[in-house]
C-alpha cells in the first residue's frame, strides 16, 4: 500500500508556525529566567505547573498512541502521528526537570530538616519522602517513558517505509506492556510532584485524578491539531465529521470521567471530615482560592459537559477547536490549582504573578516548535500502517 494509494500527499506546515514557536519559547524562556532571579520560590511553583502541563501532553499522548495499539482501534490511526509528535516532549522532560530538582527546597516542605523533625507524621514518611529516592524516582519514571516512547515510535516510523505488518504486532505487545507501567508511573509522578507538596495530606485516588486530567488534555491537544491540520488540508480528505464526532465523544467521556473522579475524591473527603484529609481542600477554599475552586468545577466539568452534549458541537470544526482550547486551559488551571496553594501553607493569599503566564507560554511555544520540526521530517499520516485504510473508511 503506497502513499499514493492511500491518497496522502505530504506537505510542509507553514513557516509561520516556526516563527510563532520561536517567539513564544524565546520570550517565555527569557522572562522565565528573569523570574528565577527575582523570586525563585514563586518562579519554581509557576514552573512546576507548566512542567506538569507538558508532562500531561507528552505522556497523555503516548498513552493515546499505546491505547490505540493495545485496543486495536482503527478510527484513530489516521491521526496517531499527531499524538506521536506530541509525545516527543517526553525525552525533553529529562532536561526540563533540572530547574525543579535544583529548587526542591523551595517546593517541598519535607526537604527541610527542621520541619520534618518537628512532625511525627513526616518523620514516618522519610523513607519515601527523601531527596535521593525522590530524584531517582522522577528521573527513573521519565527514563522508562522514554524507553517505551523510543520503541513504539521507532516501530511506527519504520512502518512508513517498510509497510511491515509485524511491526504493528510488535507495537501491540509493547503497548500492552506499557499500560501497567504507565499506570504506576503516572501515579508516582502525581504523588511525588503534587501530593507531596502538602506532605501530610493523602488520597488514594489521586493518581487516577491526575490521569483523568492528563488524558483529557492530551485528547484536546490531539483534537485541536487534527481539526486545524485537516481544515487546511494537511491530513486526508477522507477524515470526516465522523472522526471528529468520535474525538468529541472521547473528550466528553473524559470530561465525565474527570468529574466522576473529582467528585468521588471530594465527597469522600467531605463526608468523612477527617482533618488530615480536609486540610487540602481547606487550603483551596481560603484566601481567594474559593473562587478558583468553584471556577474549576465550572470550567473543568460543567461547561465542557453541557457543551459537548450536543451532536453539533462534536462535529463542527469551529466548535471543536474552541472546546479543545478551553479544555487545555482548564486542565492547566486544574494543575495550577493543585500546585499553587501549597506555596505558603499558612494562610496563602491568592495573588496573580506574571510568572504564572510566562512558563505555560514557553511550554506552548516549545510544543509548537517541536511539532513543526517533526512534521517536516516525518509523514503526518502513518502511511505504512495496515489499519490506516480502515481508519480512513471509518463511519459511525
Amino acid at each position: 500500500m503506497s502513499s499514493t494509494e492511500i491518497g496522502y500527499i505530504k506537505r510542509d506546515l507553514p513557516d509561520k508556525l516556526k516563527t510563532l514557536g520561536v517567539i513564544l519559547l524565546a520570550a517565555g524562556a527569557v522572562l522565565g529566567l528573569l523570574g528565577f532571579l527575582i523570586d525563585p520560590q514563586r518562579a519554581v511553583f509557576s514552573y512546576l505547573a507548566a512542567f506538569l502541563f507538558l508532562v500531561s501532553i507528552g505522556i497523555g499522548s503516548l498513552f493515546l498512541v499505546a491505547l490505540e495499539y493495545a485496543a486495536g482501534a482503527d478510527w484513530s490511526t489516521p491521526f496517531r502521528r499527531v499524538s506521536e509528535f506530541f509525545s516527543a516532549v517526553i525525552p525533553f522532560l529529562l532536561l526540563l526537570i533540572i530547574p525543579l530538582l535544583f529548587n526542591m527546597h523551595n517546593l517541598f516542605s519535607w526537604t527541610h530538616k527542621n520541619i520534618v523533625d518537628g512532625s511525627e507524621l513526616l518523620k514516618g514518611k522519610t523513607s519515601y519522602l527523601n531527596i535521593p529516592f525522590f530524584v531517582a524516582r522522577s528521573i527513573g519514571v521519565i527514563f522508562i517513558w522514554w524507553i517505551f516512547y523510543f520503541f513504539i515510535i521507532k516501530n511506527s516510523r519504520m512502518q512508513d517505509t517498510s509497510k511491515d505488518q509485524a511491526l504493528t504486532g510488535k507495537n501491540i505487545k509493547i503497548s500492552s506492556g506499557f499500560m501497567p507501567v504507565f499506570a504506576l508511573s503516572i501515579t508516582v509522578i502525581a504523588f511525588d510532584w503534587l501530593m507531596s507538596l502538602e506532605p501530610s495530606w493523602f488520597s488514594t485516588i489521586f493518581g487516577v485524578y491526575f490521569f483523568a486530567g492528563t488524558i483529557w488534555c492530551a485528547l484536546a491537544a490531539l483534537t485541536l491539531t487534527v481539526v486545524l491540520l485537516n481544515e487546511n488540508g494537511f491530513l486526508h480528505s477522507k477524515i470526516t465529521t465522523d472522526h471528529y464526532y468520535t474525538l468529541g465523544v472521547l473528550m466528553f467521556a473524559f470530561t465525565a470521567f474527570w468529574g466522576y473522579i473529582a467528585f468521588s475524591q471530594y465527597l469522600l473527603t467531605w463526608y468523612a471530615d477527617i482533618p488530615d484529609e480536609t486540610i487540602w481542600f481547606m487550603h483551596r477554599w481560603v484566601g481567594g482560592w474559593k473562587v478558583i475552586s468553584i471556577l474549576i468545577v465550572l470550567t473543568h466539568f460543567v461547561v465542557p459537559f453541557f457543551y459537548l452534549l450536543s451532536y453539533k458541537s462534536k462535529t463542527n470544526a469551529k466548535k471543536l477547536k474552541f472546546i479543545a482550547v478551553w479544555i487545555m486551559c482548564s486542565h492547566f488551571l486544574d494543575i495550577y490549582w493543585m500546585v499553587m496553594p501549597s506555596m505558603n501553607l499558612n494562610g496563602f493569599q491568592y495573588s496573580f504573578s506574571w510568572m504564572d503566564i510566562v512558563y505555560p507560554v514557553a511550554a506552548v511555544g516549545f510544543v509548537i516548535l517541536l511539532f513543526k520540526s517533526l512534521s517536516k521530517k516525518y509523514n503526518l499520516l502513518p502511511v505504512g500502517d495496515p489499519k490506516l485504510k480502515r481508519g480512513l473508511d471509518f463511519h459511525l
Partner: protein
C-alpha cells in the same frame, strides 16, 4: 379480493444494496407515504429515504432534567425545611450528598420517558392491527428479505404503475396489502365483565387478608411474639415461676437515699426545704401539683376535688392548721401518706416534692395576700402595661 381496500403495494428485495437503491428511487419518484422494512437497521437507509436526524433526544433531555430539578428541590425541601434533623454533623442542605440521588433520578426519568415516548408516541405501539401484520411480506422481512411498501394513499398512486416501477427496481416478489376488515370491540362482553369482577374480588380479598390476617402472623406481627418474658407474667424457666426477678439482697438503686422518718409525726426539726422558690421551681411545682395533687385537693388546693365523690375528697390546704405545717411536715405527708392519702414516694422524686411544697405555699399566699403583694402587682401592671393574670 378486489372488494377489499388496497392499503399498499409491497415489494421484496434480496440484498441491502438493492433496497437502498430502491428507497432512493422511490423517494426521488415523489412518493411520500412509503416505508422500508428490513430485518435489521441498514446503514444509510435514513438518507436514502430522505429522513433526517431523530429528534427523540429532546424527550430524554427534557424529562431527565425535569427529574433532576424535581428530586434536588424535593430533597432540599424535606431535609432542610420540612423535617430538618442533624445527621452525622452534616448541614441540613448537604449539596454534595444530594448529587448521587439527583443523578440516579435523572437517568431513571430520562430513560423511562425515552422508551415510553418512543414506543407510545413516536411508534404508536402497541398496535397489532396494522395491515401488514400477519402478511407474508412481514414474515419475509422478519427473516432475510428487504421490503419496500408504497401506500395507496399516495397522491400519484397508480397500482399498475407502481408494480411496474417496483419490478424495474429489481423486486423479487410483489405483494398487495389490504386494509383489515373493521372489527368492533364491545366493552360489555361477558368475558370482560367476568375478568373485571375477578380483579375486584382478588384486589379486595387480597387487601383484606393482608391487612387483617397476614399482618398478625409471625413474623410480620410487629414483633408481637418474642422469645422473652413480659413483666408480671409467669414462666417455667425459673423455679419460683415468676418471670420478673428480685434484685440481689442488699441491692441499692442508683441515686437511692434512705428516708429514716417513716411514721414520725413531726420530722420538721431535721427536714428543711432545699429549694428556692424560683420561677423554674414554681413552674415545675405547678405541673406536678396539677398532675398528682389536684385530683383530690383541687386545682387551687381548696379541696374542690375533681373526682366528684368517687373518692373521698382531700381537705383544703388553706386551713390554718396546714398553713402552720412546716415544709418538712408536708414533705413527710407526701412521702408517707396520711389517712386516706397514699404514699407518693414512688411517683414523685424528691426534688419535685419540694417543688410542690413551694407551689402550695404560693397558693396559700394567694388566698391570704398581704398589702405589699397588692402593691407589687400594681407595680408589675404599670411596668408591663398589661393586665397581669393571676
Amino acid at each position: 379480493m378486489e372488494t377489499k381496500n388496497l392499503h399498499s403495494v409491497a415489494a421484496l428485495f434480496d440484498t441491502p444494496e438493492k433496497i437502498i437503491n430502491a428507497a432512493n428511487k422511490v423517494k426521488d419518484a415523489g412518493y411520500k407515504k412509503f416505508d422500508v422494512n428490513t430485518p435489521y437497521p441498514v446503514h444509510g437507509m435514513d438518507k436514502a429515504m430522505g429522513l433526517g436526524q431523530s429528534k427523540i433526544g429532546w424527550i430524554t433531555l427534557f424529562f431527565g432534567f425535569s427529574g433532576a430539578i424535581f428530586i434536588f428541590l424535593f430533597m432540599g425541601w424535606t431535609m432542610a425545611m420540612n423535617y430538618p434533623y442533624v445527621v452525622g454533623g452534616k448541614p441540613f442542605f448537604s449539596f454534595p450528598a444530594f448529587i448521587p440521588i439527583t443523578f440516579e433520578v435523572t437517568v431513571l426519568s430520562g430513560s423511562i420517558a425515552t422508551i415510553v415516548g418512543m414506543l407510545a408516541v413516536f411508534f404508536n405501539l402497541p398496535s397489532l392491527n396494522d395491515p401488514i401484520q400477519d402478511s407474508d411480506y412481514l414474515k419475509q422481512v422478519s427473516t432475510d428479505k428487504f421490503g419496500i411498501l408504497i401506500q395507496a394513499a399516495n397522491e400519484k398512486f397508480d397500482k399498475e404503475k407502481v408494480v411496474e416501477f417496483l419490478k424495474s427496481l429489481g423486486a423479487s416478489t410483489i405483494e398487495y396489502i389490504y386494509e383489515p376488515e373493521k372489527e368492533e370491540f364491545k366493552i360489555l362482553q361477558p368475558k370482560f365483565m367476568v375478568f373485571l369482577a375477578l380483579v375486584a374480588i382478588l384486589t379486595s380479598g387480597g387487601t383484606y387478608v393482608t391487612l387483617n390476617k397476614l399482618m398478625y402472623v409471625i413474623p410480620f406481627n410487629w414483633m408481637d411474639r418474642q422469645s422473652k418474658s413480659n413483666p408480671q407474667s409467669e414462666t417455667t424457666f425459673f423455679h419460683d415461676g415468676f418471670a420478673m426477678r428480685m434484685p440481689v439482697k442488699g441491692t441499692i438503686a442508683k441515686g437511692f437515699m434512705p428516708y429514716p422518718y417513716q411514721g414520725q409525726a413531726q420530722p420538721n426539726e431535721v427536714l428543711s426545704n432545699p429549694t428556692l422558690p424560683t420561677k423554674e421551681i414554681l413552674e415545675l411545682g405547678q405541673r406536678k401539683f396539677l398532675t398528682f395533687c389536684s385530683p383530690c385537693h383541687g386545682n387551687y388546693a381548696d379541696g374542690n376535688s375533681r373526682l366528684r365523690g368517687q373518692f373521698p375528697p382531700g381537705p383544703t390546704l388553706h386551713s390554718d392548721k396546714i398553713i402552720g405545717y412546716s415544709d418538712g411536715m408536708i414533705y413527710n405527708i407526701i412521702t408517707n401518706g396520711q389517712n386516706a392519702m397514699p404514699s407518693y414516694a414512688y411517683q414523685i422524686p424528691r426534688e419535685q416534692r419540694w417543688a410542690i411544697i413551694d407551689y402550695i405555699r404560693v397558693l396559700q399566699r394567694a388566698q391570704n395576700p398581704k398589702p405589699s403583694d397588692f402593691q407589687a402587682i400594681s407595680q408589675l401592671k404599670k411596668e408591663s402595661g398589661k393586665n397581669v393574670v393571676n
